[in-house]
Amino acid sequence: MNSNLLSEHDKDNASPWHGLQQALRHPLARPLAALAVLLLIDFFLIPGFFRIEFKDGHLYGSVIDIVNRAAPLMLAALGMTLVIATRGIDISVGAVVAISGTVAATLIGGTVVMHNGVPEYASNIPMAWAIAAAMGAAILCGAWNGLLVATLGLQPIIATLILMVAGRGLAQLLTDGQIITVYYKPFFYLGSGYLFGLPFSLFIVAGMFIVLALLMRKTALGLFIQSVGINPVAARLAGIRTAALIFFVYIFCSACAGLAGLMISANIKSADANNAGLLLELDAILAVTLGGTSLAGGKFSLVGSVIGALIIQALTYTIYSLGVPPEVNMVVKSVVVFLVCLSQSPEFRRMRFSPSQSKSLP
């Protein structure tokens, strides 16, 4: 991913000083540093921040909490990374979250059944089918986005705007404007269950990440996606089937969003077509940018996006637990975005390093 860095490294890999410099220049250095600073603040200001307890067969603690809550965002950010890498953007993520959540919740629902004289909730249709249907709906949404962007050549932001506006309407149509409550216990496992002492949602994210990382590293797919982002025309002329690739990327993004939607609705034990995943697309885009992936497409970093999602969740957690009014959260977030954008801008760097040049800017 950073071939020029590597070749530079080969030339003069003498002193450890150089090694440090290289490490600082690594694309992940900045997001990692931001996360470290944030955690350091937490360490000093929140007593017992890093304490992790083992209770009732699973781990408890602030760090676990942050990671658990960041799971849907991490998923959405993973999908968004690939879309952004192809110079696209998907602002329908929140709507897809609402759609998949409502589909699953409507199909599962929960009816009281007497089981050995004990009332129990049973799902309306087998849960696997309900989940498959929800994911199918999400993939359908992705196919729609992909069709508009890849086949019709609409601008990504406007193509996904259509689903963003209509999607929530469709989700409300499904639920008839009501909030659907789920009573079927096994479904909650997706959002708040524990496996080997760790939140189950974490395993989903880890699984998705590993599959994706393998696909990107061990096959040419990652290279193809990057080349489409760097120069779509050149990529097409070089024989890459850009349209099919872009189509796939949007489907993947929506599938991630659908999975995130399942997690969210399992976590809150209901589906709210109006508010589920509200502004999630913006947080996902923010996570991707924080992770060092440029919105202009091309090079991307999956690890970076995961770190970006963790930064956002840690920031939220810090703000809440410091007793700062949660309203400040948005202001802080926006300031962070401004700073990150500025730090990515070559013009800003040039201005900072050589002030004399700043006057020559138009």
Binding site: L161, G169, V331
Partner: protein, 352 residues
């Protein structure tokens, strides 16, 4: 006497010419607006009245003003996602200044309008000087403005200033129907915007930048100044819309006008402005806003359809118009290809 085949050929040619005319989508929009209105008039009692038409303006005056600002931004090839939250921030600041500091209402209005302009200009500067993407900068602006609202207060603040109340309750008689003063302000703004876009140097520069920023720079146009001015204008429009909105709601609230930026973008696109920039009419935006208004009115008149149908209809309309724009620009490119032997001309070139 003309023979049959040549007349059909001419007919096809003129039909093709009409299709290829850049203003075709705008004409379609107007036709669609009339069709939808006729549908309502035939379908529902009391739909066909002057007051229903004027209500469209009364209820959507603020959206019209916001969409006018958005039109300029989109014409210049950018996008402004912050307008909805700037509107909310304006209502919040006005309410706070009136309620807590007891400022004179006119001073408050001047202040918030300036603030909106400065907010927009600041974003424009970030976009221009640091070559940042408009999408992400205005997204951050959106967070910032909403966050600032909540910093002032998380609750709604009532406005009971006499001037605001008067502006809210005044009815300007218009035959046997009436309009509100906000409509007058919005329509004046529209006139000013049409003048700015089509009859001034600034307007021509906006179109040129939207058509091709690099060419505009090489032509010696003040690209930086114009871009910053466009975002400042959009911020100003959002603030003015905020003032109109506080006339309308008589309160300041951080949750006001959520998602308005999407409505505004939808109105601009439906109004026939190309999202890639460089082509469109400011007047088309009025049609776009009115179409959104008619959809809501139709749903309100029907009574059996729920509010979420509005979203679905807007989504469908957006899709249809994007598709039409896309097919047209493909057609135009092909026609230009055939005419000029490979020189692909964007429709924008004819205007810019």
């Amino acid at each position: 006497m003309m023979n049959n085949s040549s007349s059909s050929l001419r007919l096809r040619a003129s039909w093709g010419a009409l299709l290829a005319t850049p203003s075709f989508t705008s004409l379609v929009t107007v036709a669609l607006l009339l069709l939808m209105f006729a549908l309502g008039a035939f379908g529902y009692d009391g739909f066909f009245s002057l007051q229903v038409v004027l209500n469209l303006f009364i209820d959507n005056a603020f959206l019209l003003v916001i969409a006018i600002g958005m039109t300029f931004v989109i014409l210049s090839g950018g996008i402004d996602l912050s307008v909805g939250s700037v509107l909310a921030l304006t209502t919040m600041i006005s309410a706070y200044l009136l309620h807590v500091w007891h400022w004179h209402p006119l001073l408050v209005i001047v202040c918030v309008l300036l603030l909106g302009g400065v907010f927009g200009a600041a974003m424009g500067m970030l976009i221009h000087f640091f070559k940042l993407q408009p999408f992400i900068v205005t997204l951050a602006g959106m967070f910032l403005a909403r966050g600032l609202c909540y910093l002032i207060s998380i609750n709604s603040i009532t406005i009971d200033d006499p001037l605001y109340v008067a502006m809210s309750q005044t009815r300007l008689e218009f035959g046997d129907a009436f309009i509100s003063p906000s409509v007058v302000i919005a329509v004046l703004m529209l006139a000013l915007a049409i003048y700015l876009a089509h009859f001034t140097r600034f307007g021509r520069a906006v179109y040129a930048i939207g058509g091709n920023e690099h060419s505009a720079l090489l032509m010696g146009l003040p690209v930086g100044r114009t871009k910053i001015a466009v975002y400042a204008f959009s911020g100003f429009c959002a603030a003015l819309a905020g003032v109109l909105f506080s006339f309308y709601m008589l309160s300041g609230y951080g949750l006001h006008a959520q998602g308005t930026e999407l409505d505004a973008i939808a109105a601009v696109v439906i109004g026939g402005t190309l999202l890639t920039g460089g082509y469109g009419y400011v007047a088309g935006t009025l049609t776009g806003v009115l179409i959104l208004g008619v959809i809501q009115t139709l749903i309100a008149f029907d009574g059996t359809l729920s509010s979420w149908w509005t979203k679905i209809f807007i989504g469908i309309l957006l899709f249809v118009f994007c598709l039409a724009q896309r097919l047209m620009s493909l057609g135009a490119a092909r026609a230009a290809d055939a005419n000029a032997g490979g020189n692909v001309v964007k429709p924008s070139a004819q205007v810019a």
